[in-house]
Subunit: 289 residues, 2 copies
């Protein structure tokens, strides 16, 4: 299968696992909102879990709960990020955000419960031994909490009211938390499940995560809001520093391409088994949404 | 030690474990807000973890991370519950709520990260084998998510706009989720850590949780807001059904006392080792805050 076919097939697998996790729940708005929030998206994080596991010889059936977990956690972060007190977005993946379609209270609670669901999914015995599962819990908590994703989000909010725009090292640190930590965890999760050395995948995903964010900043300036399914040019409108505002468009593109080459180099030892992960890195900077 | 002395000593232990978990973090408002949010409170849930473990022969040093975890999770739920879109409270434990002292975005993120911290704490190797720790993760996720605490909160919000007040079975179901699930988990956690049968502790905590909530409804009517450190008579002002509005004050008191007797009866087999848990059940309905 080509990379786009694999990405699409993995998205279906992940959706099915999330649907199963949300089946037979109460007929309440908060449950409907959770189901709505886990629809769509590229599922890049879940793909990274499944593909890094596959590269190391672990089948999708074994790794799927971890892929669903990171997508559930990502969905929670988007819901809370879209809230009026945060980014105040009314469009996500081409659809009204949760607090628009339901209300703020339902959006807060649905996000909360999707975070919980992520950890519940990591307890799935299909993922392997208790040692493997608790290692996944500990590392996802580290990546997504006050030293990872949430810290990145907090730095992002602080940047909005800062007297001076952030510098390049500051933006890099912010993004290493806000988007980098989950992308890194996703690739590492495959190694944890496979009982393999996580270092090459961590190095790959660190470069990939930064390239992905630079590409996001480029898309924010050059992208098509209809294709993206969300509001664009927000950062420029808000006067926020981005990789594009700091480096310029051409240098930002060059830096992203360089990072993708770095990402690829870390996977050389795996040969042909790394084909899809290398394609994913190239996709991260060539995508239109 | 008497029960009040044990409760106070356990609160100190729990605070120290939470302080350790939040040490050496970034100098950011979201971290300061997390530290602020885990101060104070009765620590009844953490006490239940430590005391149920002790009753079964497990020392505090072994169980402490689980006690800190449930208090971290409880703190997150209070922060989000106090938000303007939820209960819109400006006072908690006698202090300004997080969104008053900082802002809504910081309160949302601090709550999110305290939920994450709860699961990070449950990965602490001091709690025992990987099997024990993943069992704690799975059960806490179940108790606090869309089938437990969050569902109870969602039902509570739905009740506020419902055309007719809730019935007694509906209020009981709501509270079994909103406050009952975490109280039940806390007592069960001791049995999980001790590899003991959780059934008697589950039955004890189910009765205790309901008694605790009936006492809360009684305090909401008869209590002193200064002592309670929060706004009272909210439910009556909002025209919401409570155990008091449905049963009357005297019958609510009688029902709570009956539940405490039930709770005690489940711990008879443990003899003197259950003294503190029995005192906790009595305290649940005699407390002034």
């Amino acid at each position: 299968m080509t990379f786009p076919q694999t990405l699409a097939a993995d998205a279906c697998l992940i959706q099915a696992r999330l649907d199963a996790a949300l089946a037979d729940k109460a007929d309440q708005p908060v449950i409907h909102a959770m189901r709505y929030a886990v629809q769509g998206g590229k599922r890049l994080r879940g793909f990274l879990v499944l593909e890094s596991a596959r590269m190391l010889g672990v089948p999708s059936e074994t790794a799927i709960a971890a892929a669903a977990a990171v997508e559930s956690l990502h969905a929670y972060s988007l819901i809370h990020d879209d809230l009026p007190a945060m980014d105040n977005d009314d469009l996500r993946r081409g659809l009204p955000t949760l607090h628009i379609k339901w209300d703020e209270a339902t959006a807060i609670l649905a996000g909360d419960a999707l975070q919980t669901l992520a950890f519940e999914l990591l307890a799935d015995p299909a993922l392997g031994s208790a040692e493997t599962r608790i290692a996944l819990v500990a590392s996802l908590a580290k990546a997504s909490g006050a030293e990872g994703m949430v810290l990145g989000q907090a730095l992002d909010i602080a940047a909005e009211t800062a007297a001076t725009p952030l510098t390049l090292p500051q933006i890099t640190a912010l993004q290493a938390g806000k988007t980098g930590a989950l992308i890194r965890w996703s690739a590492e999760a495959g190694a944890i499940i496979a009982h393999a050395d996580p270092s090459p995948l961590r190095a790959y995903a660190t470069a990939l995560g930064l390239a992905f964010q630079i590409a996001d900043d480029i898309l924010d300036v050059t992208g098509d809001a209809t294709k993206a399914g969300k509001r664009l040019q927000k950062d420029a409108d808000a006067g926020k520093a981005t990789f594009v505002s700091l480096l310029g468009l051409d240098a930002a593109r060059a830096r992203a391409a360089e990072l993708v080459e770095q990402a690829e180099s870390h996977l050389q030892p795996y040969g042909a088994a790394a084909t899809n992960l290398i394609a994913a890195a190239r996709f991260a900077i060539s995508r239109e949404t």
